[in-house]
């Protein structure tokens, strides 16, 4: 199925502005009345999702990501703010009149219909002619690898197969955007990883904008072009996976995505764009692109795999922090060290188990930790 065919749909008339972003949320607030009190599930989200993008809404449960998605789908009307699809204000437009489709968390397949009838449901409602329905449903079942299972009922299928039916049922309509609400949550790890790759492939193949809601950071990092990390009804950071991992904007993002170390220190001096932080007596932390001024208290984050462990004090323009090894955990691919600093703070260090690995710090050893200035990242003050 190509994009030009999508243009032949009835909705084409409303989609004249092809250059407009697929989805725009402008100051979206969603309030609920719970036990007589107003609760804000979404506290003002503004974001723009480009055509063809794989966009993730990532956050812990209750952060407002699902509500945000339901606002885009039209199941919830925002209390304030506007939703635009391809430049057209659709705030208040019911879901059956919006050209976006959703893959539900528990799939929500029609239990009384077989695979074919499930997938053809949307096309039938839009009065697509029968030959066209037959062709498109057949093609879509081919794409999701379910050809030959048309007559199966949802309850006769495995979780992974049901998942693909749900995907086909939404995608066959060639929506302007596909919304996926934790679609892999119910699958076991192996299948989930396979489906992640599969989803990404399908997205490339059909070229449709995907909006993906998940609480699984590795899932979001694997698949997304961009991620909006949400917490407590607000977007904490909106950036590419690399940016989010390497340069978390807030302590929340640093903590939620992967393992991260937070260190606090006072800016000693700033030289050629590089700040030097005093952390305890003998330790120093170098921060490239530091926003800090002399005397200021800064919080920086550094990823465990960026840190090198050594017995001697490192030389050169690097961060150097003294500590004592508290714990060593062998994890196959790498060792995880927990190092306690003089002030009691703990730092996690991952050291890859390379063949020539000589770093064999033991529990109780006094060690030096070092890392490059660009790996220290000052987070929101």
């Amino acid at each position: 199925m190509t994009q030009t065919q999508a243009g032949a749909e009835a909705v084409a008339a409303t989609c004249d502005s092809s250059s407009a972003p697929a989805i725009e949320l402008d100051g979206v607030v969603k309030e609920y009345l719970a036990h007589g009190e107003v609760v804000q599930a979404v506290k003002g989200v503004t974001l723009t999702i480009a055509e063809g993008e794989f966009f993730s809404l990532l956050g812990p449960s209750g952060c407002g990501k699902t509500t945000t998605m339901r606002v885009i789908a039209g199941f919830e009307d925002p209390s304030r703010g506007t939703v635009r699809l391809h430049g057209h204000d659709v705030t208040g437009v019911p879901p059956n009149k919006r050209d976006v489709n959703m893959v539900f968390q528990s799939y929500a397949l029609f239990p009384h219909m077989n695979v074919w009838e499930n997938v053809a449901f949307g096309l039938k409602r839009r009065k697509v002619d029968r030959a066209e329905i037959r062709r498109r449903v057949g093609e879509m079942l081919e794409i999701v690898d379910l050809a030959g299972r048309e007559k199966r009922r949802p309850r006769e299928m495995s979780g992974g197969q049901q998942q693909r039916v749900a995907l086909a049922r939404a995608l066959v309509n060639n929506p302007r955007a596909l919304l996926l609400d934790e679609p892999l949550g119910a699958l076991d790890l192996k299948l989930r990883q396979a489906m992640q790759i599969e989803l990404k492939r399908i997205q490339r193949e059909v070229g449709i904008t995907f909006v993906y809601v998940t609480h699984d950071q590795s899932e979001a990092l694997t698949m997304s072009d961009r991620i909006a990390v949400m917490n407590d009804g607000l977007v904490e950071q909106l950036a590419s996976p690399r940016e989010i991992y390497e340069r978390p904007a807030t302590a929340f993002v640093a903590g939620f995505i992967g393992t991260s170390n937070l260190l606090k220190g006072v800016v000693d001096r700033v030289a050629s764009g590089c700040a030097v932080l005093r952390v305890g007596q003998e330790s120093r932390v170098l921060v490239a692109e530091s926003p800090g001024r002399e005397g200021e208290l800064l919080t920086i984050t550094v990823r465990p795999e960026k840190i090198t462990i050594s017995a001697e004090e490192p030389e050169g323009e690097v961060s150097a922090v003294r500590g004592t090894v508290r714990e060593v955990v062998y994890l196959g691919l790498y060792n995880s060290y927990t190092v306690a600093l003089a002030d009691g703070a703990e730092v996690t260090v991952f050291q890859q188990n390379a063949l020539d690995s000589t770093s064999t710090a033991e529990r109780g050893d006094a060690v030096w930790l070092s890392w490059q200035p660009r790996h220290s990242y000052a987070i929101g003050r």
Partner: protein, 283 residues
């Protein structure tokens, strides 16, 4: 012991049914082919021709009973479905209160409820007297002793048996499945006819079984609210048994009624079996 447990569990109920259902039925079947009267006693003559005779003699009442049962069932579906779906989808935290309200009439005796309908619908009763004095209906207009009164009474008395199974079926419909229908361009109407209704049909099916059978066999409503033109087969059985003392005729009528309803139910299940109902709805 473990292997015996299921059989031991079924024993009390099984014995109960054996003693109080099977034994009397066998006894009644035996009575139906006997001849004689209450004064001189009955003698078993294996008179099978009585079945043909009663069917011929009371054909009108049989047809009327089935007709009333069908009409009452149809009206019950029309009334019960909206109520059940309102409770299931809009009932919120008060669902159980509404269900209790539906069941509340059961706390009053069946006969008493029907008798109070008689007062309500009497020619100069609470309903008709004001209408007549206001000149809205003519002076000789009446509701009692009509088909409408009997079917109305049947519907009133058996409505909860229709509401409850439909409610249970609707309650089990996953709201996300309905959302999925809306998401796939279904209007409110299409979401209902394509998704909600087919998924609730097993409840309607159960409701039909639970109302059609007792409605068709009912005699209280026809006896209290109906006239001579509304006599149902239940009234005939009652009269033959208690007034005329013609036990063989009463027994034969009972078995014929049972056969008629069993055939009807099986035909219905065959034509619209749960699985087939779903199949048909998906198209």
């Amino acid at each position: 012991m473990k292997r015996l447990a299921p059989y031991l569990l079924i024993l009390p109920g099984g014995l109960w049914l054996l003693i109080f259902l099977v034994v009397p039925m066998v006894f009644m079947a035996s009575v139906s082919t006997q001849e004689g009267d209450t004064l001189n006693g009955f003698v078993q003559t294996f008179n099978l021709s009585i079945y043909g005779d009663v069917l011929a003699q009371y054909r009108t009442q049989f047809l009327r009973s089935v007709g009333y049962g069908l009409a009452g069932t149809a009206v019950s579906i029309a009334l019960a479905y909206p109520v059940a779906s309102w409770i299931a989808f809009k009932g919120g935290a008060r669902k159980s209160t509404y269900l209790l309200l539906v069941l509340l009439p059961f706390f009053v005796s069946f006969v008493l409820r029907t008798v109070s309908w008689k007062f309500l619908l009497a020619d100069d009763g609470l309903l008709l007297a004001p209408l007549k004095s206001a000149g809205l209906v003519s002076g000789d207009f009446h509701v009692l002793q009509t088909t409408v009164a009997v079917i109305g009474g049947l519907v009133y008395n058996y409505l909860p048996f229709m509401i409850l199974p439909i409610y249970v079926a609707l309650e089990r419909v996953d709201p996300r499945v309905i959302e999925a229908a809306h998401d796939l361009y279904a209007s409110g109407r299409a979401a209902f006819t394509r998704v909600v209704l087919p998924l609730s049909l097993p409840g309607v099916f159960a409701g039909v079984l639970m109302t059609f059978v007792p409605m068709t066999a009912d005699y209280v409503n026809a006896g209290i609210l109906g006239g001579p033109e509304n006599t149902m087969i239940g009234n005939i059985i009652q009269t033959e048994y208690l007034v005329n003392g013609d036990y063989p005729t009463a027994s034969a009528l009972s078995f014929t009624l049972m056969a008629v309803m069993l055939i009807g139910i099986f035909a219905y299940a065959k034509a619209l079996g749960t699985e087939n109902v779903l199949e048909a709805a998906a198209r």
